[in-house]
């Protein structure tokens, strides 16, 4: 029936296909679906007496304007919208150009801000206390500002983002941390995590309740890390060459590198990487699925190997000749492994086409999550054993808390992943489970920053 259309109409339909395929939010299969619709409409209109051209025009018109259509598609498929973040009609070069100027200005701002303490005689790496307290507070506000300006955020959103930054600054300034105390290290790292999530509020322009917006931020975080790693590679080459070139002519550039190049470079890179993610999304888009497919099997193997090793070694807590968890460093190491695994899971979820049916990779992820769950429980048992034996310390409690949160996450993730691979639950539930944990991470980080130091006498 549809094959009977005149060649002229077929030509017009292929021209229309090319036109509709342009917006990123409408992918190839969607165009197939729309074409089926268009042909149905044309058939019907021709049957009611219109000639081919008229029928085509009316059918296209009734599909709606491409701008409206792609906006609707983008709203539903924000994972695709993400590739461009702009709608047709907006001049592309001008938009990304404006973003670039802003990003460069803010990156320079961050690079200068990290040097600001030097004006007051505080040198990077010398008075360790200052940068531990305020390091993230010197850099992340510029990143948050970048998003707030780019999204033209409302005053309410600016306040929601700004107030946590102010509160963190007050806490970090007022608390009398002991020099080199573990609560200081904990507060500094957890403040960075908390402020990162708060920066996420700026990223999603205040739409914190939207699971999709949260997923966009998670995706952004993954891409940002990839870009930061790329920049760091280039930066490493730059540092090595700088040192080499100057030492060749008998000058010692080490102080310059340590004092200015590395700290300012890192601060600037934080903003520049964010700009790259925003501007170059479709470039990295193709890397994310590859990275997750590469590392998910490897991390699954690591976890399985560890489980086997742990079972063979037997005694996990202590007492044995070889203590798997004898040292606190190792426990923290396994916390990091679990965090990386959850990160990998999140990154894979965020890069996945939500409507694709479950496949081998989803079953592999189920295996990884299940293995991570076993490792988590092993670590948890060891931790509780250590705390029972040697008493609590800030580090142990922070690790324990993180572990419990990860355990809860992994239990839910494993259950939903299982049901998803059995086609009992839609992918959306997995997404919402993970995005629902963002506030939990934020709350826990805030507790460690605000409550831990006084509880442990700032030791």
């Amino acid at each position: 029936m549809a094959d009977d259309l005149e060649p002229r109409i077929e030509e017009q339909i292929s021209a229309w296909r090319a036109y509709v395929s342009r917006p990123e939010a409408i992918d190839g299969r969607d165009v197939d679906e729309l074409e089926d619709h268009l042909r149905g409409q044309i058939d019907r209109l021709e049957a009611s007496g219109l000639d081919g051209d008229e029928a085509f025009l009316v059918a296209v018109k009734r599909l709606g304007g491409l701008d409206d259509l792609s906006r609707e598609f983008a709203r539903e498929h924000s994972d695709r919208l993400w590739k461009q973040l702009m709608f047709p009609g907006a001049p592309r070069a001008a938009r990304s150009g404006a973003g670039l100027a802003l990003a460069v200005a803010l990156a320079i701002g961050a690079a200068l801000a990290i040097q600001l303490p030097a004006v007051f005689g505080i040198r990077f790496g010398e008075d360790g206390d200052f940068y531990a307290r305020f390091g993230s507070l010197l850099v992340l506000p510029f990143l948050a500002a970048y998003f707030l300006v780019r999204r033209r955020a409302s005053a309410a959103t600016v306040a929601v983002v700004g107030v946590p930054f102010l509160l963190t600054a007050v806490v970090m300034a007022v608390y009398p941390f002991a020099p080199d105390g573990s609560t200081l290290v904990l507060a500094a790292t957890h403040a960075a995590v908390a402020l990162w999530i708060v920066t996420g509020v700026a990223y999603v322009d205040g739409r914190v309740r939207s699971s999709r917006a949260r997923m966009d931020f998670i995706r952004f975080t993954g891409e940002w890390l990839v870009y930061l790693a790329l920049i760091a590679l280039g930066g490493g080459v730059l540092v090595a060459l700088t040192m080499g070139v100057f030492s060749a002519i008998g000058l010692d550039a080490e102080w310059f590198v340590e004092q200015f190049m590395v700290p300012s470079g890192v601060a600037g890179a934080v903003v520049v990487a964010a700009w790259l993610v925003e501007a170059k999304q479709s470039v990295i888009e193709n890397i994310a699925p590859v990275l997750t497919k590469l590392f998910t099997p490897l991390f699954t193997l690591l976890l399985l190997a560890f489980i086997v090793a742990g079972l063979v070694q037997g005694n996990l807590v202590d007492g044995g000749e070889t203590e798997v968890f004898g040292q606190r460093d190792l426990l923290i190491l396994f916390d990091i492994v679990l965090v990386v695994v959850v990160g990998l899971l999140l990154y894979a979820l965020s890069a996945r086409e939500p409507l694709a049916p479950p496949a081998w990779f989803d079953r592999l992820q189920l295996l990884m999550v299940a293995a991570a769950l076993v490792v988590d429980i092993m670590v948890l048992v060891a931790m509780i054993g250590r705390i029972a034996e040697w008493g609590a310390s800030p580090n142990k409690l922070a690790s324990l808390g993180l572990n419990v949160i990860l355990l809860a996450n992994l239990v839910g993730a494993a259950w939903l992943q299982l049901r998803f691979t059995m086609r009992r639950t839609p992918f959306d539930r997995l997404e919402r489970w993970q995005t629902g944990f963002l506030p939990v991470y934020l709350a826990w980080a805030a507790i460690v920053v605000v409550a831990f130091p006084p509880l442990f006498a700032f030791a």
Binding site: M1, A2, D3, R29, D30, D32, E33, L34, E35, D36, H37, R39, G40, Q41, R62, L63, G64, G65, D68, L69, E72, F73, R75, E76, H77, P354, L355, T425, P426, F427, D428, R429
Partner: protein
């Protein structure tokens, strides 16, 4: 009569769920059915149906599969899932409540003397 955009948007989901509750269907046929059921009064631009169907799919209310039209072109079919059935039942109850309440408001008004069957130009 032109039905407002918000009302059309609100009615679209229960409409589509209801049509799919009768059995598997595809985009163009669903729109045809909407047109028939509403006597052509409930209309939105055809393309908007597809993002809606995709959203319902993401939420797990409908399942889809690619088949072929009689002429052999790819065609995407949609059918209601178990959760979709539950969502449909719930939406149906909600709309029944709204509809009953509106009916009651109007019948109260129509019961009064100043409105019953007498639009402004009716007496002219």
């Amino acid at each position: 009569m032109k039905i407002g955009k918000d009302l059309v948007a609100a009615a679209a989901t229960p409409m589509v769920l209801g049509i799919l509750a009768d059995g598997e269907s595809y985009g163009y046929a669903i729109l045809q059915r909407v047109g028939e059921l509403s006597g052509g009064e409930l209309e939105w631009s055809d393309g908007m149906l597809y993002p809606l169907l995709h959203r319902l799919e993401r939420l797990g209310h409908v399942e889809s599969s690619w088949g072929a039209s009689p002429s052999g072109r790819p065609r995407k079919h949609y059918r209601l899932s178990a959760t979709g059935r539950a969502a449909f039942a719930e939406q149906r109850q909600q709309w029944a409540v709204v509809s009953r309440a509106l009916q009651r408001v109007w019948s109260d008004r129509d019961g009064g003397t100043d409105f019953a069957g007498a639009p402004a130009f009716g007496g002219a």
